[in-house]
Symmetry: D2
Subunit: 442 residues, 4 copies
């Protein structure tokens, strides 16, 4: 039965803390697509199709024709950054997109100038920047961000806004008392509690302004009782943590395949080389820790050594990230996987992924923006587990293990869309195509 | 609601045409597992678990504890080969398993001597062999194989038998008039029709003796109206074609991942090096053709360029197999995948799989034997599409596209087992874990 | 003692049969370097340095400052092709160089229009073309090419000319009677002998016009007694066969390293994927044969299994070239090398070279042109074995095994230059740095 | 003119500090070779040949038939270790060689029990051990080692002894005052100077007992004025530092190839995974530092950015070593090399070396032992630069840059042997094969 989903009327604002490589690639890309200069490849909302009904019906509409998403032409971007560069200059420095393409949309990109950032160097050690808000208390800082949001709405006339964090990885933090309730959190804002990082301030401001929040980094941010509570209270979806791209994307593709075939895994060594701002930030051990925790959990949840000890209890998993300037944004990963099969015989898989960090991340950011906006219009608030598909370290309800297998995540996403629109869920059973068999079974 | 499945009482015979590397690795492996010398890694029936119920129930029984499969201790092996070597000698020559392990089970393996093969060199050009049946007509040859089956049953006291083809890839054949009905086929047997290859004779003999047939090679064999008809008539399951191992296994793991993310693919180059008997046979172009057709279809069915032309219509797919003696059975594959993402930017994935052909194939052969035996006891006859999971080129009902995505195949397999045992099917929807959300939707 | 080398006065013409990817990359590159837009990386004559004297003198002049080479500003290009495209259009189609760079030198490139080619489709099966000379006898064809050379000289005022073959690989040919003497060859020209291919006609014409000839393809061409005789008679250097780039370059780097350490090699599997015109031509088995023979000899000559049978007598060497359009000129190779060390223990090396065919070939073509011109001015005629460094299948004096080890080739090249200029040869002995040692030895 | 080299009469003792994976692989290997069970592959002294005279003479004797080396049958092993295990037990634990092979030589290996080690945990943080000498001063410790050497000689009747360090990498140390003269060093021994590490004590003891010293680790040890002075004084050769195996071996093979062709290099990323004791020791940053310094210098010396700034001045070189237990002694390296060619166009080379650490190191240790013994008999003392071929970080005379190019190193080694035996040095000039050319030049 079809649920009621409000239509996507008016303009949708996408507000982004962190106008670096990912954000500028997203913004320039949407601009280029609107102008017919390029295609939004890698975006499920724009390019993906979804099977409806029986296989023999051969019914595969595009997702954007199936669910009522905001149209790319209705999107307005805005954002904050610690550097003053407008989006054109920032994109040129990021060196992700060709100069030729950027030139074709220069006026639109130049018009986009970042607002002063809510920033504190203690949380991102290898970054400096001068385009920064002054503040007395963190409460004051949050109020400034809220005002920015209201101004943006007023100026652009957007009917709806979502916020998507594309900023840096902050230093590692664990949940503390200040995160246990929204009351504690608001007190912490007043007395500048160290456990409240800038990303939390953005998220808080967003939710208070009735804006859904997407967490594209492995930061703690909205993964606390306080902000989940606030999200539910204000009726806003939240989604996180950490855009799933590159090596982890490959890992959550391949590990389910090995597990499917009951192949054992003794070791998995993953190394990365990248030379963009992200690589620079992660060159600091405290910031790397946050990323490492996000990346390491993946295999345990897919292999479940607790359920399959003969296959996975001895798995040695190591992840390394190396700052390597010659590659710029062209992140490259190399994985060595030591597996074993029949009678314990060893085999090896080597994967070398010559990827582009921001090219993979931009459509993920877009999809999460559009889907959280959709979720809000469908009346869904709080954690959106069905968006795990896009995230390295999915946020889940208390007591629920995250699902990392990208194919189960996709199934969950697609069946959620089908459910939303009143279509039959798909189980891939398909015995009915072999009718005499089914008959013989009943 | 639970279907009725007959219990697995008595001994199960597994009869194998082709006692080469795969078959001897399977037989020696089962023997080693029975003696507690090794584990049947890679076999879903022996090592795999299946989720039942809700995630929060944490209920993951082993598959063999969930459905009534034949026990490894109840299996009796037999087979045919063009060489006289007993299984011990053949395994030593295949050089897949360590001499130490084979020595520990030498008496059991030596006792297994192949029956004379139904063989015709015209269908497998690079093989010679002297352990071969003489015959006048192909009907006569089929009768000899049927008699072998009856003798095997009588001698071993097996209550049930399945036949699993582990022989070579035959030359490429397409469906002809002789395959259109069982009547035409039987006439062809009488007048030695060229379009009836040895594998078809084995399959025909099996079905006539009430024995399910598993087709481990890309040969046409049971993928014709005639033999499907015979399978249904006699109430026997059939499964084919071509054990899915190595490169194609990886391909059906990775391609669904790219497709999931709407990443475009411009080229996929796959090369293989292997030095075993299989490599020698495939060094002949006519035999390679059969394998190539089996390997090439995979990507088209996963990517569906008809549905997603912007992403996959220009995909150039090339598969090469090279006979390379230094590697023996240690098949190795290298894949270069040219993908493109956001705005069309190119990226590359390279996969180097240092695998072992027979180590991957043996548990697949075992699972297919056990599952077709299960299917027969569950009253399922004809094509078993739910076993596509194990096959490079799954046989399907007329008019139905094969499913190559290994994760959909797994879903289909698992939901079939759940359905058989009266458990709820799994859809990964899971909105109920977020109750307030669900409430808000109704 | 210094030999007499004539100075490089006046302009040097470089005439090129085959204005495809390699030639246009060379021409455009030289133009770009002259304009200061880029550097001639990969060219030893332009970028390389050479050590003179003792290590402690730290004397490493650039090669171009050490020997009297023609200056890039004094080069004039010309050539023939089966297509009418001028060099700008041909370079755009080849897609090797960025459009931006080509635009900056468009007028110079457009001015270069190919002369009609001496072509016969029977020798290059996968190529077609309409910019072709008509002819009655091959003698007539040779005369037309000679006239082209004379016209070029007259028009451009070049004092010296060299010819560099950058055309396609012709079908496989072995030496026949027509190649045994210049008399037999000239008779063959008159009566259209099938064993005289177009490349031989170009070479003959060049030598008759006092022009050195460089053979950039694996074609037989000047590797016959007839044309060696003509080269000596006319006092012209010749160099061939087959520009050494990509995979073979890597092979002649790595094999000497393994051999240096007395490591055994059991197998070497080399595969290539490329999508340019070269790949298309080599997709035909007859043309591939020529290339394969050129590529296969390399390892035998480096490893010398006759001298080191325990290490190399069982080496299995396989080379594959695959036409793969998605990569264009971006040729890519993958090598698997099976080595063995101490006590026979096996190890493996995998090499994946993401190269660019024409980018590697262009500077090789340039250096060979400049060095053959130098050789001529130094009074050296006939085979130039010291240029083996640049060639996949070096031409040598009768009865002399070719040297394939790139480091011995480099030593030979550098010591030849030192010898030419009267400098001490280098032996890397260096015991004199440890004087007391030397003292103690005498 | 032939120098006088004393013949290799009597037995040669090889004394080894550190009976771990490398040493036990060496000892077991020599034993196996003597028994005819295996071949000493990878050892130039045993398997290598050397060209003498002109190419056309085809004269390639084995090195061991050319220079008077000690025969493998005349070698007697001894050594020290921090663990009590005899060589058989240590080899079994190292898991480098097959149990089957070790069993065949068990009695010989069991008879070899390590002497108590001169050890100090402060210099090798991740190792513990109980088979350790007590001592008051470092002088006392040195005396104990000297006594061990004398006892070994007396017991075995060896006429000559060499010492080969196969122990761990010590923490990073730089030259200090205590290393400036042998007088300062001996004073330091008396007052337990911290800058004298255990390896220096072994080296000192060796030289004082007239025993050449080979330094197989990157430790400072004999690379100081004090010990060079002692070596000359006592007439003993020394060779170091750090056996060249695995990744650095490949690097000094490939880098000269790129340099030969004047190809630029922008980045070189090298990562290693290994799980043996060496990996464990290097997991400590202080010990890794020593290794890193040894590994990093290689490229600078081969590429000489000071001489070729356009090609190599921006090279970013990064080396990582990761402790990865699943691989044990099967060290594996992955290198990504970012090169650029003609006009600056980028290309990439990826090298994956699945090697075996001790299998590569054992023959290097053997050769160094045999060649230093030869050098001593040839009257050569102090630094042996001609053995750079085997070393990651060759020790040279003051003010002389080390040569890292393995092909120049090989040339140096071979020409030194030729010089020693009065043969012509080889320059690869070879113009004399083309007589008419030479004639024309004179």
């Amino acid at each position: 039965m079809k649920e009621y989903v409000e239509p996507a009327e008016g303009k949708l604002g996408i507000l982004i803390p962190g106008l670096g490589a990912v954000a500028t690639t997203l913004i320039a890309g949407v601009e280029a697509v609107r102008k017919g200069l390029a295609q939004p490849i890698g975006s499920l909302t724009q390019m993906g199709s979804i099977r409806l009904g029986k296989r023999t019906e051969n019914k595969y509409p595009k997702i954007k024709d199936f669910v009522p998403l905001a149209d790319l032409n209705d999107i307005v971007f805005g954002g904050w950054d610690v550097y003053e560069d407008n989006v054109y200059d920032a994109a040129m420095k990021a060196k992700v997109l060709d100069a030729g393409l950027l030139t074709a949309i220069k006026p639109e990109l130049e018009a986009l100038v970042p607002m002063k950032a809510a920033f504190d160097k203690r949380y991102v050690k290898n970054l400096d920047g001068t385009n920064i808000k002054s503040f007395t208390t963190k409460k004051d800082l949050a109020d400034q961000v809220r005002e920015d949001i209201r101004n943006f709405k007023a100026k652009t006339g957007c009917t709806r806004v979502v916020m998507v964090w594309c900023g840096s990885t902050e230093i590692y933090q664990v949940e503390g008392p200040v995160h246990h309730s929204i009351a504690a959190f608001e007190a912490g804002l007043e007395n500048n509690d160290d456990h409240i990082s800038p990303s939390m301030i953005y998220a808080y401001a967003a939710l208070k302004e009735d804006v859904p929040y997407v967490n594209g980094a492995p930061n703690l941010t909205v993964d606390t009782p306080a902000l989940v509570e606030l999200a539910k209270e204000t009726g806003n979806p939240i989604a996180g943590k950490d855009f799933k791209t590159g090596q982890t994307l490959m890992k959550t593709i391949i590990a389910p395949g090995l597990s499917a075939r009951a192949l054992g895994v003794r070791g998995w060594f993953s190394t990365n080389i990248l030379g963009n701002r992200d690589g620079l930030v992660l060159d600091d051990p405290d910031n790397f820790k946050t990323k490492e925790v996000s990346k390491l959990s993946v295999l345990d949840e897919i292999f479940r050594p607790d359920v399959n000890p003969e296959l996975y209890s001895e798995l040695y998993h190591k992840v390394r990230i190396n700052y390597y300037p010659p590659h710029g944004d062209n992140k490259e990963s190399w994985d060595n996987i030591d597996i074993f099969g029949w009678l314990g015989y060893p085999m090896q898989i080597k994967i070398n992924f010559l990827c582009r960090d921001s090219i993979l991340a931009a459509p993920v950011a877009l999809d999460l923006a559009l889907f959280t906006d959709l979720a809000k219009r469908a009346g869904m608030s709080g954690i959106q587990e069905w968006l795990s598909f896009y995230l390295k370290s999915p946020q889940t309800a208390e007591g629920l293990r995250p699902e990392h297998d990208i194919f189960k995540q996709l199934m969950k996403l697609q069946n959620t869309l089908r459910h939303m629109m009143g279509e039959d869920l798909i189980t891939h059973l398909g015995l009915d195509y072999y009718q005499d068999i089914v008959d013989s079974m009943h």
